[in-house]
Subunit: 256 residues, 2 copies
């Protein structure tokens, strides 16, 4: 048995999300079905580092799987890319790893990208790739307000009401907005996130960018520890799971 | 009668091209049908600055049209964006212009963007937005070779055999490749281009990037004045009509 770490890109608009579900096609199902063809037809379980929701994309999702045959990482990548067609999933990298590697539990950081298109004209090219806000947002005000959320906090106000995590405490390590052409991109990093945390934070920061909320309003929303105190959940199509960090032992294996 | 200059973004993968055709949906047809609804049902002709081929995108196509009613540019933009749905066309800007303005004949420069994804894994997110080449290209060699094509030349080798232009002489003002993440982007500018000129130049430069051709091979291809001497035509999905330049008189009207 060999364990493989795979790095993935996918178009979330074609999937019900990462996790296998009975009511739609998931990224996990597509990968597990492809991997089974390379495992003498025996079922394969594919474990993802993060469970992306319906419509959420990935440019750097990581998963692991075990195969009962010998194969090089490069050949496995090529075989999986052939077998997942025509689903919009691409295996960017594939490495044999020690058996104790676990895509989810070995991860020490997760980074997301959020893309906002803030212009009056709707997107024609990126219609399910960005969150369209039909008026310009105040980037400086948004960046100043992110300070409120950085660090270790109780993020109860910024988690989905059905979130399963035991603790609402999380440490937000990085949260910055930058202008990229007609878009605003945000890089958000933490060891882990609560369910919908990124999208609720973005939905709240949009209020700041529109001048509806001050930095202090955002602080009050955080302190309220109440989902109703924060802004609405941002649309999933602007969200990309961009990078999963692992301890140097595993990271040195990455070639990308 | 008022003449309007409109700036457009569209997803070329959903259209047979810019020009109205009997065998598929064109951008021109979608816009003309929408504009007729705003012209007391009288037909409207929409003239584009460049006739993009099937699959070619635009982020800055310009067109003009005449309406028999009074309407502000902002209202026309909003009305057209509502009427073109669900086709992936977006009117970015709309300005009333002097009657002598002509989107095609007043243009003094045209700029294209070409996106190449040069990595082993196929694109999952940008599968009809980039030209996928499954191995890394030598950016420096490609940039050095573009020198051969810059300036005033007979571009017979780099025009489609069915190209209708009277003269094969064109002046290439700018041609540069740059690395953008996992992609190579190229900016190409001239007053005007021959049919398929950009895509044949890119298809030839790919040979240079792969080490199959030297800069001198590219020079010989140009001098041969024979389509068969140049490389293959690059795929349309990597090509974007990015900007149309007009004399300062008209450009000062632009707000974008």
């Amino acid at each position: 048995m060999t364990r493989f770490k795979i790095t993935l890109e996918y178009d979330g608009s074609h999937f019900i999300g990462w996790q296998r579900q009975s009511n739609g096609v998931s990224v996990q199902e597509v990968l597990e079905d492809a991997a089974a063809c390379l495992n003498n037809k025996a079922p394969v379980l594919v474990y993802g580092a993060g469970r992306t929701d319906t419509g959420v994309h990935a440019t750097g999702q990581v998963a692991h799987l075990d195969l009962n045959r010998a194969i090089t990482g490069d050949r496995l990548r090529a075989a999986l890319n052939a077998l997942v067609r025509p689903h919009p999933v691409s295996v960017l990298d594939c490495q044999a790893v020690p058996e104790e590697f676990h895509a989810r539990f070995s991860a020490i950081s997760r980074r997301y990208l959020f893309r906002i298109l803030d212009r009056v004209a709707p997107p024609a090219l990126d219609y399910n790739r960005v969150w369209w806000v039909s008026h310009p947002l105040d980037l400086d005000a948004m960046n100043a307000a992110t300070e409120v959320l950085l660090g270790h906090h109780d993020f109860t106000s910024f988690r989905a009401t059905h979130c399963q995590a035991k603790s609402p405490l999380r440490t937000l390590d990085h949260f910055k907005f930058r202008r990229v052409g007609a878009e605003i991109h945000s890089d958000i990093e933490a060891r882990s996130f609560l369910h919908n945390q990124v999208r609720i934070m973005i939905g709240s920061l949009r209020f700041v960018g529109e001048g509806k909320w001050t930095k202090d309003d955002l602080y009050k929303a955080l302190k309220a520890k109440d989902r109703c105190a924060a802004g609405p959940t941002a649309r999933p199509e602007g969200l990309y799971l961009a990078h999963i960090g692992y301890p140097p032992l595993y990271d040195s294996l990455q070639t990308l």
